[in-house]
Symmetry: C2
Subunit: 266 residues, 2 copies
DNA sequence: CGCTCGTTTGACTGGTGTCAAGCGCAGTGG
DNA sequence: CCACTGCGCTTGACACCAGTCAAACGAGCG
């Protein structure tokens, strides 16, 4: 019997996730940030100044520390690890999850470009869940201490930070409602709608189709279902003409129909 | 057919929850705060100064605005309502919930004395869920604007605030794991353990028994189960000698046994 | 080529939901 | 004081959604 990769990497001792990370040279990193389509979202916008750059004088020098890359299916951080950086995903997808001792796994949230990997890291130095790259992921790490010092007294940054929490909490509530009181069909339809909505808001989605790097097993780990049942629901959605699926790809054919099933009207 | 009270009150137009609230006279409110056993927890401790009072000079004058009372089973706030106060529960239990259009209801968290009712209220002026009193509830409201002004530049308060978020998020993760990947027995055992732990940390629990104002139907609304099934699980726990239940009362007889079922070892 | 992983499908099982009825208690009104 | 009523708890019979187990297929990859 072989050990699946997610378990393999989560069993590493704390602090060892760094070994897969490729650090990007500082000069290249700066130019990557300058062109980053995500720089206008979340805290990046506040930290780097929204109108592209130029007026670097008004804002303190950007406090990027490092840009890193992690290959697909490796853990970015393991639960219990310490960390001194707050990271933002620039490219790629990842997910937060916890692994129960018997092997069951619950995904807490899916992270897309522009998301902050560990929102509470600024105040809480140990991570309470693991994070795994779904595709290859490139991310930027702000130094915790610098960011924290800046947060005190900077109303705009504080506001941005708080709104991260609020949005994230709202996402968690949505998932709680799904898991607690909705059927498999509803959960999956809602997941699709949620992701399409978020991708659109980040300007990542091209027409109603998008690359969908979540294997069905992981869709199950989000929605609390088994891979087999997820497959059946996908099949019935396909038969109903709601979606079209392919290899790491998904297209919404009937948005209204999906919303009728999975909309959260509250 | 009669309308259950939770629906009745949640159907009121926004802004009407105030009508059940009894405002407590300001002079009485001040003395209630001075003696409040919860003043050392959460943000109250930071705002009012932890060592009882006396050195009122160091801290700005307390910014209590009002103390209010709400009778059991009435909504404290309805989803969508606006609010200009951040409230802390001084006495009694309450819960946050959302009501789906078809009547299904999901409880998001249970609030006990010392908990902040609407943690994000400071930055988000509309409430995204409803809050209902489980017992009679007395709570204190801080003015949002004052609190916010104080937050900028006050590192200690900021820290306290952030830790509210972190603790709350941790609770939500626990519930997500329960709902997504654990059985009915596990969920209910975990709920009991979670509540006993929180009550202990707040110094409210007398020996291993405590008043348990959650009717089984609401235990179901937290754990995503029906009242009938909750009843069966309670019955089996009783038969196994794990707990003892009575009218609005619960006693843990076998903590280790409960932990074996519902512990979250992650 | 042979391995593994993800998808797909089928048969069967089982945990929870649903429906229904009875009981006891507390509040309410006569 | 006593009926009446509604609510919460309890139990049983039954149904169904989703889990489990198993097998086959295709794709990627060394």
């Amino acid at each position: 019997m072989t050990i699946p990769p997610e378990i393999k990497s989560s069993e590493l001792a704390a602090g060892q996730t760094d070994e897969y990370c490729t650090k990007i040279r500082n000069d290249r990193a700066a130019s990557l940030c300058a062109d980053c389509p995500m720089r206008n979202f979340n805290i990046c916008g506040v930290l780097l100044g929204k109108p592209l750059p130029e007026d670097d004088s008004s804002r303190p020098k950007p406090i990027w520390q490092v840009q890193k890359k992690v290959p697909a299916r490796r853990n970015i951080k393991n639960a219990g690890e310490q960390a001194d950086r707050v990271s933002v995903i620039c490219e790629g997808w990842a997910f937060r999850f916890v692994q129960l001792p018997d092997g069951r796994r619950q995904i807490l949230s899916i992270l897309i470009p522009g998301d902050v990997v560990t929102t509470t890291r600024l105040f809480d130095d140990t991570v309470r869940f693991s994070i795994q790259a779904l595709t290859e992921v490139r991310f930027c790490g702000y130094a915790r201490s610098t960011l924290r010092a800046q947060l005190i007294g900077d109303a705009e940054l504080l506001e941005a930070w708080a709104s991260l929490f609020i949005v994230e909490r709202h996402e968690h509530f949505g998932l709680l409602i799904d898991l607690g009181s909705r059927s498999a069909d509803e959960r999956i339809a809602h997941l699709i709608l949620d992701l399409t909505g978020r991708l659109e808001r980040r300007g990542i989605m091209v027409d109603p189709s998008f690359t969908f790097p979540l294997p069905q097993k992981l869709v199950g780990a989000v929605t609390g279902l088994t891979a087999e049942h997820v497959n059946r629901v996908f099949g019935s959605f396909r038969k109903m003409g709601l979606i079209e699926t392919g290899k790491r790809y998904l297209r919404v054919l009937d948005l209204a129909g999906l919303q009728r099933i999975g909309g959260l009207p509250c």
